[in-house]
């Protein structure tokens, strides 16, 4: 369209320009002819003057010769002027005034004839008529030139607005063309985006359907298997009691029980994946959950891997089963750890985000506020094929015996049950990023207010013995905010000093199990001897085996596993005191 408009404009311009040039050329011809006529008129006037002078004087022989010579010279000049006029007419192929010019030539011939006859009066009369004809011819050319020039001006006046209109059309065409092209391009891009989003959505739906089908299958099997295991465990226990004297049989039955318990653990994971595991959702702060788990995670992933935890400062409340969420974080952390056999870095972030519909990458997520958890490593990563099957149960890339293939499947089940979304992005040799989005809850304030006032508050004195300063400070602040008077000690020795030196009553003693100066069990025994009215509670971040080795296992004093929520400890203290 733009090219056609430009071509049209060029053609019109060229045509108009050529026509104007032709008119200009004709105007020039008329002006040149007019100038030649003017010269002829001057020459004619000069011969006229000579003839008039001659008519008024008496000719002498010398005068006659002189007169003849002057007339001949003037006639010669007039002849040259006439030739020039004819040449101009032929050069420009203009015969508009040819009859006038022909008449002039004819009359000039008559003048020449009269001159040779030396008949003065007729010659004078003829020259005067000739002069009039020359003036007519000159004026005709002047008028024709003026006509041509006026025509050129009129045409130029007509052309200029046309050119302006054409230019305006060209500009408008360009602008409209550009705008239409832009709209088309945007439309195509939007269409392509929509198609991609639709394709991704369909793919996700197929994936979800596949996982759903697997979950139903697995859940059904696990449920039946659990019943069988219950029977196996029950029967094994009964047989153990009856065969207390037959040591080999008892050991065999113990092995059966242990294997069955491991199998029960697996079925528990399967039920979690299939979302048939009973869950107890609570209102929790994601930031607190992650901060509480940080020490455990550091021990879990080892010193070769740098762990960075970043939580934003905003309140980030969600509603889910805290125990299950611990399992999510642990599974993802273990996954990242296993992807970093030669060390590396794991980044764990928590933030409060807003999702809107323009974020096509987030697929079917409903717009709104979400708590986002990201676990990112710079490990070996996954190829596309592996990535597509990452959440399938029993799919694992780990060596035989190192993984069950249920870790990520369990994570997927827990997050989906909590109405959350999980995304994974990975590139071989570059690392993996898991992103979890859980809907934000607005019930936090209500829950805290209700718990703190009605159930958890107290005014008793609590001694907290803990070598980790952060935990000590946390518990001092948390329990203090519930109304308790909190005493703190950094180890067993200091704790015993407080028990012996303080005059006021100590109603509860909360102690870590593993401490640098003395173990928790020894401290608790001496402390309760000194303060027999107090109730004791153990805290531990170690596995059951280590706890058992310290002598805590089997005692009547309750143990709370780290990480725990402050609510859990407060509730335990309140229960014990009550």
């Amino acid at each position: 369209m733009v090219i056609a408009a430009t071509a049209l404009l060029t053609t019109l311009y060229t045509g108009q320009h050529a026509e104007l040039a032709a008119q200009d050329r004709i105007a020039f011809y008329h002006l040149a002819s007019s100038a030649a006529s003017q010269q002829l008129r001057r020459d004619t006037r000069s011969i006229n003057l000579v003839l008039q002078a001659a008519a008024n004087t008496t000719e002498t022989a010398a005068g006659g010769f002189s007169l003849t010579a002057r007339v001949s010279a003037a006639l010669h000049s007039m002849q040259a002027d006439l030739i020039k006029l004819r040449e101009l007419q032929e050069q420009y192929a203009d015969y508009q005034f040819s009859s006038t010019l022909g008449r002039l030539t004819e009359r000039f011939g008559a003048i020449m004839h009269l001159h040779t006859e030396a008949s003065m009066d007729p010659l004078l009369e003829s020259v005067e008529a000739f002069e009039l004809n020359i003036e007519q011819l000159r004026r005709l050319h002047m008028i024709a030139a003026a006509n041509e020039l006026a025509s050129i001006e009129a045409q130029a006046r007509r052309v200029l607005p046309n050119m302006a209109i054409l230019m305006a059309i060209l500009i408008v065409t360009c602008v409209v063309g550009w705008y239409v092209t832009r709209l088309l391009r945007e439309s195509l891009v939007n269409q392509k985006r929509a198609e991609e989003a639709l394709a991704a959505s369909v793919e996700r739906m197929h994936h979800m359907q596949k996982l759903e089908a697997l979950g139903q299958l697995v859940g059904g099997v696990a449920h039946d298997f659990n019943n069988l295991l219950t029977a196996i465990l029950g029967q094994a226990s009964l047989l153990e009691d009856k065969s207390s004297r037959d040591e080999p049989m008892r050991q065999g039955l113990s092995e059966i029980s242990r294997a069955a318990e491991q199998a029960a653990l697996l079925t528990k994971q399967l039920l979690t994946f299939s979302r048939r595991q009973p869950i107890e959702p609570k209102i929790v702060d994601l930031n607190n959950l992650i901060r509480d788990m940080e020490p455990i995670l550091r021990r879990l992933i080892g010193e070769d891997i740098k762990l960075t935890v970043r939580c934003d400062d905003t309140q980030n409340t969600i509603e889910l089963d805290p125990g299950q969420f611990h399992q999510v974080i642990l599974n993802l952390a273990v996954n990242s750890r296993d992807a970093l056999p030669d060390g590396g870095e794991i980044l764990l972030t928590a933030e409060h985000v807003q999702i809107d519909s323009d974020d096509h990458r987030r697929g079917d997520m409903v717009n709104g506020r979400y708590a986002k958890l990201a676990v990112i490593d710079n490990g070996v990563g996954m190829d596309k094929k592996t990535l597509d099957r990452a959440f399938e149960p029993f799919f694992t890339t780990k060596q035989k015996g190192r993984g069950t293939g249920l870790g990520l499947a369990t994570v997927h089940g827990i997050i989906t049950a909590a109405n959350g979304h999980i995304f994974v992005d990975s590139n071989p040799e570059k690392g993996t990023c898991f992103e979890i989005y859980l809907p934000s809850s607005t019930r936090y304030a209500e829950k805290v207010a209700a718990d703190s006032v009605s159930e958890l508050a107290g005014s008793e004195t609590v001694l907290v013995v803990e070598d980790e300063e952060q935990i000590r400070t946390l518990l001092q602040g948390g329990l203090g905010s519930l109304g308790y008077r909190v005493l703190t000690a950094s180890g067993g020795t200091e704790g015993l000093e407080i028990c012996g030196s303080r005059a006021e009553s100590i109603d509860a003693i909360v102690s870590d199990v593993v401490m640098p100066d003395m173990n928790g069990a020894a401290f608790m025994k001496d402390a309760l001897d000194m303060r027999p009215d107090a109730v004791g509670i153990y805290m531990s971040g170690y596995t059951d085996d280590i706890v058992l080795q310290t002598g805590v296992g089997g005692s009547a004093i309750p143990l709370i596993n780290k990480p725990f929520e402050l609510d859990e400890l407060a509730r335990l203290i309140r229960d014990r005191l009550n």
Binding site: S99, T100, L132, E135, Q136, R139
Partner: protein
């Protein structure tokens, strides 16, 4: 026959000059124009020129439009008109009668033409195809409406009174055009300049009338004065006409109304072709009195 007799009469002799006409320099100049169109159109057409001449010469100008060509000639020959716009034929008559002196002419007047006009619905392509039809000249003293077309027809082998079933004479070129467009006559001949101006101003429609043929060029209109008019007045009037300039926006409407690009000085020799045509017609009439 009346018309042919008139032509013969014109060629026989020049009438004696009126002795009572003397050289004069009047403060009021009466200008007469040939009544070749209706009076209102002529008044409208000449008004700008009269205003211009008054301004340029400082004279009081009076425009006179006689009712027909004969009255026009009578008025001039009686000395009531100091300056007049003649047709070629009327000029020759005034020249013979009262030595009218040619002053100026329009640029188009040296090569004037007449047009044969027919109804637009008529498909014929030449005058020769109109044998037996009703034909119309203009006024009988009109150069372009009668004398020159008759001359060209006869030299082309068509004697109008024999070739056409009937030959009419209108009072003016505009009436000839109306007769043709109204199909009162099948074919007519008129002044091309006037026909074109009627097309231009809408008085004629190309849907009703078309130009069939055009005659060869010949000299026509001329502004002429009384021979007795003061020479300085002649020069004053001539210079006023010659001063009209197409490139001057003030002069443009006037020149357009006159159908002129400008004015030229005119001489007696310019009408020699018409004189020759009249002589030729007279000799034809003499050799063929029927």
């Amino acid at each position: 026959m009346k018309i042919l007799t008139l032509i013969l009469a014109m060629t026989v002799c020049a009438c004696a000059n009126d002795d009572d006409r003397k050289s004069s320099a009047p403060d009021v100049i009466t200008i007469g124009v040939l009544p070749d169109q209706n009076k209102s159109d002529l008044t409208r057409r000449y008004a700008p020129l009269m205003d211009y001449l008054e301004t340029e010469t400082g004279l009081d100008i009076v425009l006179s439009i006689p009712s027909d060509y004969e009255e026009f000639l009578d008025e001039f020959n009686a000395g009531h008109l100091q300056l007049a716009n003649f047709g070629g034929m009327t000029f020759i008559q005034a020249e013979q009668k009262s030595q009218a002196v040619p002053l100026v002419m329009r640029d188009i007047d040296l090569q004037f033409t007449s047009c044969y006009i027919i109804n637009a619905s008529d498909g014929r392509r030449s005058v020769a195809e109109f044998e037996g039809e009703v034909f119309s000249f203009g006024p009988n003293l009109s150069t372009s409406g009668h004398i020159m077309p008759r001359y060209f027809l006869i030299t082309g082998g068509i004697v109008p009174e024999r070739f056409f079933s009937s030959v009419q004479y209108s009072s003016g070129h505009d009436q000839t055009a109306k007769w043709v467009s109204d199909e009162i006559v099948a074919i007519g001949v008129a002044n091309c300049d006037i026909v074109q101006s009627m097309f231009d101003d809408g008085r004629l429609s190309t849907a009703k009338l078309r130009i069939l043929e055009t005659t060869p060029p010949y000299p026509n209109y001329v502004w002429a004065t009384q021979a007795s008019l003061d020479l300085s007045l002649k020069h004053l009037l001539r210079d006023a006409f010659l001063g009209l300039d197409l490139t001057n926006p003030m002069h443009l409407p006037l020149l357009k109304a006159q159908g002129a690009g400008g004015y030229l000085p005119a001489g007696r020799d310019d009408f020699e072709d018409i004189r020759a045509a009249v002589r030729e017609l007279a000799s034809l009439v003499q050799s063929d009195p029927n």
